[in-house]
């Protein structure tokens, strides 16, 4: 789950990381009030969950409260990469001397957290990694020990941070480590971390990604989820514990298991069709879940055929069949449906669907070919 800049920075501040004075505003008038309170030049920053806000004109400076109101009004009316700007952050403008990058993330291949820093801050770190990887310093952290003070010092030295800042930088890195672990983040990033004209360290921008699997122990963070960045069908699917991702194709897929669901998409493509979605109904899915899944698939107007591919293990094919019948009763689908049931209670499942006028298939390849044929047939 992605957090907005203002949410990430609020969390950082809670752990003692210095951030600019400022607040989030949902209207131009509110932005003006905040600018008046701050009594200085301000930066108006769109709060959307995509990169490249600056380039899109979503981050601008304002010298007066009046200008802040105008700029905020313009930004609040924008769409950036398809996402509406509903909030802007109004921050005191900083006097920047140096820009640094500092972030902590999971390194899956080393199975450890890694702290990364670069003297080339303020630009996209992915770009730095690509063009000049030697400018990124990486130190792995033992997750059982945590970030050690000397590691933070090593980072400070490696990015040529002046000695006078080492102590403050160490405290800041330790605070970032605590934010990262205590929030179950998969990324906690400050870019840029600046040295101001009056020689203070300040986290000008912040970004956090939170591990979805850990949200059960972070109710406060779960409430911060911004649903704008997700398709309505994906939000609906989550309610039922379904893993659904909408795509652009024409063949809706309902599959048990993530690997098999991806494979079903791939094989549809292999035989010349295009998948409308990824959908994993999960292990042991009952009739109710299956019915919800079918409703969600059919809510996509592009879907011309539905392909069910169920390999019963924990999931029982008769339960899936019952769900399909329930859903068909309710939704009355008008598109052809291809079904393949194998494994636990497959015979019972097939029996139940014998009168449901579905196209049946034996193998995965057979099922995919039949689905592709059905989606391209003239009706």
């Amino acid at each position: 789950m992605k957090l907005h800049e203002y949410q990430s920075k609020q969390i950082f501040a809670r752990y003692g990381i210095p951030i600019p004075k400022g607040r989030v505003a949902a209207s131009a008038l509110e932005a003006r009030t905040i600018a008046e309170e701050l009594g200085s030049r301000v930066v108006i920053k769109s709060q959307v969950l995509v990169g490249g806000r600056g380039k899109a004109g979503g981050i601008r400076l304002a010298k007066t409260p009046h200008e802040a109101e105008e700029v905020a009004a313009q930004i609040l009316g924008m769409e950036i990469k398809g996402l509406p700007v509903r909030k802007v952050l109004v921050d005191e403008a900083a006097n920047i001397k140096t820009e640094i990058y500092l972030g902590i993330t999971n390194d899956r291949s080393n199975r450890k957290p890694v702290i990364m820093a670069s003297a080339a801050g303020g630009v996209e770190i992915e770009q730095v990694a690509k063009d000049t990887p030697e400018k990124i310093i990486k130190i792995y952290i033992d997750p059982l020990l945590g970030l050690r003070d000397y590691q933070a010092r090593d980072i400070a030295m490696a990015i040529d941070l002046p000695r006078e800042h080492w102590r403050a930088f160490g405290a800041l890195a330790a605070a970032l480590w605590r934010a990262y672990t205590e929030c179950d983040a998969t990324l906690a990033e400050i870019n840029p971390l600046v040295i101001t004209g009056d020689n203070r360290l300040l986290a000008l921008d912040g970004k956090m990604l939170i591990d979805d699997n850990a949200l059960f122990r972070h109710g406060d963070l779960a409430d911060m989820r911004d649903l704008d960045a997700e398709a309505a069908s994906e939000i609906e699917a989550r309610k039922y514990g379904l893993s659904y991702i909408k795509l652009d194709g024409e063949i809706g897929c309902m599959v048990n298991g993530a690997g098999l669901a991806m494979t079903t998409m791939d094989i549809i493509k292999l035989f010349g069709g295009s998948p409308a979605n990824f959908l994993d109904i999960g292990g042991g899915a009952g009739a109710e879940k299956v019915a919800a899944a079918l409703r969600i698939i059919l809510s996509d107007p592009n879907v011309k055929t539905v392909l069910f591919n169920v390999f019963g293990g924990i999931t029982r094919c008769d339960e899936v069949a019952r769900g399909i019948l329930t859903a068909m009763d309710e939704v009355k689908p008008k598109v052809p449906m291809v079904i393949r049931l194998v494994g636990t209670n497959a015979a019972e499942g097939r029996q139940m669907l014998a009168n449901a006028s579905m196209i049946t298939a034996e193998t995965l390849a057979d099922a995919a070919q039949k689905a592709v044929a059905a989606s391209t047939a003239k009706r």
Binding site: P113, D184, L260, T263, F278
Partner: protein
């Protein structure tokens, strides 16, 4: 012959009185797996499966009393990491964790701890292991696989069943099938399994089932090139997966242009691995 689990496996089931734990204990026992104990804190002294399997309050007592050497974990995600630590401190040799949805920072702590103790973990978020006719430690349906000379390792669950079933239809079977799981941080990886299959005299061919996300398939390709004398056939799921989206498995995600299926296929083909276009093609490629 086999790797990791066989007739000598003495299994303790963590979370044995839960719905899933109990159901799969029945299935594993019916398959012939030697289940010697269960663990559920607060239910020590009870028995399950008509009084055949004793339940203990702690893993330590279970292992001391029954001589269990392998743990399987079915406890819910929020308690699973603790169960893995508990199994490790009870000094079993192998821990298999079926549970899906364990926070990744928990898994980083678990993995680094187990590495220090040199205890092997398979999973989490995996279907476990199956050595046909000897032991089933996990949830792979027993009736879709027969014994044979193929070692199989996979990041997936039902996709693994699909391939086992396709093999069986062609009269082919496996020495051991290892589901290593779909999480970004897990216990056992492709290379560990390739190494074990290379050393196992009864394994003559290897199947590797990968998917998008991370770079384990690329590393496996390098390892195959340097160390494997046995032929390998592979399949990689997720060629049509959009970037930046987690495809069901926590680890199945293309991030910043890395973890792509096409790169993995290229790396494997470059070292002479035959990569199937779809799972049902695998038996013919093993030829």
């Amino acid at each position: 012959m086999s790797v990791l689990v066989n007739k000598n496996t003495r299994l303790v089931v963590h979370g044995i009185t839960g719905n899933e734990g109990l159901f799969h204990t029945q299935q594993m026992a019916a398959y012939g797996t030697n289940i010697v104990a269960g663990v559920t804190p607060g239910k020590g002294g009870e028995w399950v499966l008509d009084g055949k399997i004793p339940v203990f309050d702690s893993a330590k007592v279970a292992v001391e009393t029954t001589g269990a050497n392998t743990s399987i974990i079915f406890v819910p995600a929020r308690f699973a990491a603790d169960s893995i630590f508990e199994a490790a401190d009870a000094n079993v040799e192998l821990i298999v964790c079926i549970t899906e949805g364990i926070p990744v920072q928990d898994m980083m702590r678990v993995r680094n701890y187990l590495d220090q103790k040199r205890i092997r973990l398979v999973g989490p978020n995996c279907p476990g292991l199956l050595t046909p006719d000897e032991a089933k430690v996990g949830i792979i349906p027993g009736d879709i696989a027969i014994p044979g000379n193929i070692g199989m390792v996979s990041r997936s669950g039902t996709l693994t069943y699909e391939v086992l079933y396709a093999l069986m239809q062609h009269g082919m079977g496996v020495t051991t099938c290892v589901g290593i799981g779909g999480d970004p941080v897990n216990g056992t990886n492709f290379i560990d399994c390739l190494n074990m299959f290379e050393a196992d005299p009864y394994t003559e061919k290897v199947i590797l089932i990968g998917e998008i996300g991370g770079s384990d398939e690329e590393k496996a390709a390098e390892f195959i090139s340097d160390h494997l004398t046995k032929p390998v056939v592979a399949f990689i799921a997720g060629q049509t997966a959009p970037p930046g989206k987690r495809m069901g498995h926590a680890g199945a995600i293309v991030e910043g242009g890395s973890g792509l299926a096409t790169d993995k296929i290229k790396a494997l083909e470059a070292v002479g691995v035959k990569v199937a276009k779809h799972p049902e093609e695998i038996p013919s490629l093993l030829g």
